[in-house]
C-alpha cells in the first residue's frame, strides 16, 4: 500500500452568540468588575447565573451581587497549559464558590505549585486589564487571606450592557483521505483518473470513496476511466467567486468520464458559454504542475446520444 496522504486541516470559526438578560448582566458586570448571581425560587444564589432554574426550569431573573472573593470547592493541577486556557504557566483548575453564592464557578487559579492549593482555600478574582464582557474578564483567581470582600450592592443595571459575545474557536486536524481516495489522488497527480468498481453491481465510482453506496460493500478493483467524457448536465455561473480568477459567465458541468458510472463536476472552457450543451464531448486540460485538471474543453467529436448517458444524470 502506498504511503497514506496527509495534510493539515484547520477548522476556525468565530461563534457569534446572543445573550439572555441574565447572561448579559453577568458578563457586563465582569466588564465593570462586579460579580452577579441569580436567585432561584427556593432562595439559592447561582454563580455563574443562568436564565432558568436548573431544578425546576422556572425562568429566574432576580439578580444579586456577590463578592469577588470565594472558596475553592475542588481543584486540579494543570502542569502543561494548553492553547486558549486562561494562563500559559502551570496553574490549578478550580471550582470557586463566591462569597454569597451557593454554587461554584469554573476558572483558573494562579498558584506557585500544587502544594499551595487545597480544597477550602480562600481566593479572589484577579481582573483582566482589558475587559469586554466575557468570562475571560476574570483573568484568573489568586490566593487571598482576607475577609470576604463586601459587595457594593449593585442593582445589575448597567450603562451599555453587552448583548452578545463573539467566541473564536480553532481546532487543528491532520486530514487523511483513506485508502480509496489516496489511490485516486495519487493517480490523478500522474494525470490518470482511476476509479473503483463495485464487486456486486459492477458500477465504477470516480472518485471512489471505498464503498458502493447502493450495495454497501467495499470497492477495490481499480479501473482507469476517461480521459474523455460527456457533459450530462450543466449550469451557467454569473457571479464571480471570491479569490477565483475566472471570468464570468462560465459553465460548470457534470461530466461522466468514459467508463465511469458516476458523473463528477468540472468547469467547461474553450467554447462560448451559451454553446455548451448536454451530450457535449469534452477532455481535460492540464496546467503545468497541477494535481487536477484546470478545466475541460470540447473534443470536436459528435455529441453523445442521450441514451448513452441518461442513467448518469
Amino acid at each position: 500500500m502506498p504511503e497514506v496522504l496527509k495534510a493539515p486541516l484547520v477548522v476556525e470559526f468565530p461563534f457569534t452568540r446572543s445573550l439572555g438578560p441574565v447572561q448579559s448582566a453577568f458578563l457586563t458586570g465582569l466588564r465593570e468588575r462586579v460579580v452577579l448571581g441569580v436567585k432561584t425560587t427556593d432562595g439559592r444564589t447561582l454563580v455563574p447565573p443562568v436564565e432558568y432554574d436548573p431544578v425546576t426550569a422556572e425562568e429566574i431573573r432576580d439578580l444579586v451581587e456577590v463578592a469577588p472573593t470565594g472558596t475553592v470547592t475542588t481543584w486540579a493541577w494543570n502542569h502543561a497549559p494548553r492553547r486558549g486556557q486562561p494562563l500559559d504557566t502551570p496553574f490549578a483548575w478550580v471550582l470557586v464558590r463566591m462569597d454569597g453564592a451557593d454554587t461554584a464557578l469554573l476558572h483558573a487559579l494562579d498558584a506557585p505549585g500544587p502544594d499551595a492549593v487545597h480544597t477550602g482555600m480562600r481566593v479572589r478574582v484577579r481582573w483582566a486589564e482589558e475587559r469586554s464582557g466575557a468570562i475571560t474578564d476574570i483573568a484568573c483567581f489568586e490566593p487571598y487571606d482576607g475577609d470576604p470582600a463586601e459587595p457594593t450592592g449593585h442593582s445589575g443595571e448597567f450603562e451599555a450592557p453587552i448583548t452578545g459575545i463573539v467566541a473564536p474557536a480553532r481546532l487543528d486536524y491532520t486530514y487523511s483521505p483513506g485508502r480509496a481516495q489516496t489511490a485516486y489522488i495519487n493517480a490523478l497527480s500522474a494525470r490518470r483518473a482511476v476509479g473503483e468498481r463495485c464487486p456486486s453491481c459492477r458500477k465504477v465510482y470516480v472518485p471512489p470513496r471505498g464503498a458502493c453506496p447502493t450495495c454497501g460493500v467495499a470497492t477495490s478493483e481499480q479501473v482507469e476511466v476517461g480521459p474523455r467524457g460527456t457533459v450530462t448536465t450543466f449550469c451557467i455561473v454569473n457571479i464571480k467567486a471570491k479569490n477565483l480568477d475566472i471570468e464570468v459567465p462560465y459553465v460548470y458541468a457534470h461530466i461522466a468520464l468514459d467508463g465511469a458510472d458516476l458523473a463528477q463536476h468540472g468547469r467547461i472552457g474553450g467554447i462560448p458559454y451559451d454553446q455548451v450543451r448536454m451530450g457535449l464531448r469534452v477532455e481535460p486540460v492540464w496546467t503545468e504542475g497541477a494535481r487536477f485538471p484546470d478545466h475541460y474543453r470540447p473534443t470536436g467529436e459528435p455529441d453523445a446520444e442521450y441514451d448513452t448517458y441518461k442513467e448518469l444524470l
Binding site: 500500500m1 497514506v4 496527509k6 486541516l9 477548522v11 461563534f15 452568540r17 445573550l19 458578563l27 447561582l46 455563574p48 436548573p54 431544578v55 470547592t73 475542588t74 481543584w75 486540579a76 493541577w77 494543570n78 502542569h79 494548553r82 492553547r83 486558549g84 486556557q85 486562561p86 483548575w93 471550582l95 464558590r97 454554587t103 461554584a104 464557578l105 469554573l106 476558572h107 483558573a108 480544597t119 466575557a134 468570562i135 475571560t136 459575545i165 467566541a167 481546532l171 487543528d172 486536524y173 491532520t174 486530514y175 487523511s176 483513506g178 485508502r179 480509496a180 481516495q181 489516496t182 470513496r209 471505498g210 464503498a211 458502493c212 453506496p213 447502493t214 454497501g216 460493500v217 467495499a218
Partner: protein, 349 residues
C-alpha cells in the same frame, strides 16, 4: 411494554491509536458486515438504521452521510442519526421497534479521534458562554471530579490505580482492546489523574442489531432481551452539580428496572478510573457483580462508540451464556453529565 426487543448481534473493530490509512466508512464497513453475517440478514432486511457519530472529532462536515455508503442506503432506507454516542442511537432504534414500525434495526457508531486533539475538541461541547472560552479539556474536568471524590473520602489514588490495573488486566482477554496487560500508572496528566487513570485515545467503530419478539429468536440462539432502558441528564453547569454522585445514573437505572433484581455483570462506561467509583456507588454495585469484564473504556475508548460497546459487550456475554442479567451503562458530556442505563437478560438456561 408490549414488545420484547433484544440485541441479537454485536461487532466492533480492533481499536487503535490511529486508522489513518482508512476513511471512516472504510473503518466502519467491516463491523456492519460482521453483524449482518452473524444474523444472516441483508441490508434490505433491516427495517431501521440509526447511527451515532460526531463531525467535530475528525473535522469532517457531514461525515455521517458518507458513512451511510457502507450501509447500502440506496434505494432509500429508513434512517436516522444522533450526534451522540451510539448508545443513544440504540435508544432511538429501541423506541422505533417498540412502536411496531420496525422489527429489525441496525445501530452503529464510530469515532476517529486520531486526526484531531480530542482533549481540545471536547471543550466545544461545553457551555459556550461561561466555560468553553476557558478551553478546559476533558482530562482537567475529570480531574476536578476525582479531587472532589478524594476530598470527600470516597476514594484515593491507590484505589484509582487498582481500577486501572484491573481494567487493563481484564482486557487481556479482549482482542479488540487498545490498552491491555500491565500498564504503568505513569505521571500526573492533570493532578490527581495520572496517565493510567485516563482512557486511551483511539479510533474505532461498533455495530449492533436489534430485533423484536420471534424475529429475535430466529436470528440469535440466546437473544439479550432489553428489559429496560432509560437515560437522564444533569444540569450543565459543573458548579451546580455534586460531582461525587451521579443522581442521573441512579434515576436511569431505577427507570430501567435495574434495582428490581441483582445483575451478575455490569459494563460501565467510565472513561476515567474515578468515574467508576461514582458509578458503582450510584448503581449500588457490590463485589458480587462482575464489572467491565471487557476492560471497559479504560482499555478502549473510541469516542461515540464506547457507550454502544458497553451494551454490545453486555449482550455478547448473554449470547455466550456467561451472564443471565447484565447492566450496561453509557455516558456523555463532562464528568458523567448524561447517563443511559440498559438492563439485559437471557432466557432461562
Amino acid at each position: 411494554m408490549t414488545r420484547e426487543i433484544a440485541v441479537v448481534a454485536f461487532a466492533q473493530t480492533d481499536h487503535r491509536r490511529t486508522t489513518e490509512e482508512l476513511s471512516e466508512v472504510e473503518m466502519l464497513m467491516p463491523v456492519l458486515h460482521d453483524v449482518l453475517d452473524q444474523t444472516g440478514l441483508k441490508t434490505a432486511d433491516i427495517d431501521f438504521t440509526c447511527s451515532g457519530s460526531s463531525d467535530y472529532l475528525a473535522g469532517r462536515a457531514f461525515s455521517f452521510t458518507l458513512a451511510l455508503d457502507g450501509v447500502g442506503a440506496w434505494p432509500p432506507i429508513s434512517e436516522s442519526h444522533v450526534e451522540m454516542d451510539g448508545a443513544w442511537a440504540l435508544y432511538e432504534a429501541w423506541t422505533k421497534l417498540l412502536t411496531g414500525d420496525a422489527d429489525t434495526a441496525l445501530v452503529y457508531a464510530y469515532g476517529k479521534s486520531s486526526p484531531g486533539s480530542v482533549r481540545d475538541v471536547l471543550t466545544r461541547q461545553l457551555d459556550p458562554y461561561y466555560v468553553a472560552p476557558l478551553w478546559p479539556d476533558s482530562v482537567a474536568l475529570a480531574a476536578l471530579q476525582a479531587q472532589a471524590l478524594i476530598d470527600a473520602g470516597h476514594t484515593d489514588e491507590p484505589e484509582l490505580a487498582a481500577v486501572a490495573s484491573r481494567s487493563r488486566a481484564d482486557a487481556t482477554a479482549n482482542s479488540h482492546a487498545q490498552l491491555r496487560g500491565s500498564i504503568p500508572q505513569g505521571d500526573y496528566l492533570v493532578r490527581p489523574l495520572r496517565t493510567g487513570d485516563c482512557p486511551p485515545i483511539g479510533d474505532g467503530a461498533a455495530a449492533v442489531i436489534l430485533a423484536a419478539g420471534e424475529r429475535a429468536r430466529e436470528l440469535c440462539t440466546r437473544p439479550a432481551w432489553i428489559r429496560g432502558i432509560d437515560h437522564r441528564i444533569e444540569a450543565h453547569s459543573l458548579g451546580v452539580r455534586d460531582l461525587t454522585d451521579s443522581p442521573s445514573t441512579r434515576l436511569a437505572a431505577e427507570k430501567a428496572g435495574a434495582f428490581e433484581r441483582p445483575v451478575d455483570t455490569a459494563e460501565l462506561h467510565a472513561p476515567f478510573t474515578s468515574q467508576e467509583v461514582v458509578l458503582r456507588k450510584a448503581l449500588g454495585l457490590d463485589d458480587t457483580v462482575r464489572v467491565n469484564p471487557s476492560g471497559g473504556a479504560l482499555a478502549a475508548n473510541p469516542m461515540m462508540a464506547a457507550g454502544l460497546i458497553r451494551i454490545g459487550e453486555a449482550a455478547a456475554r448473554i449470547h455466550r451464556a456467561e451472564s443471565d442479567r447484565a447492566l450496561a451503562h453509557a455516558t456523555s458530556g463532562p464528568c458523567l453529565q448524561q447517563n443511559l442505563v440498559a438492563v439485559l437478560e437471557g432466557d432461562p438456561r
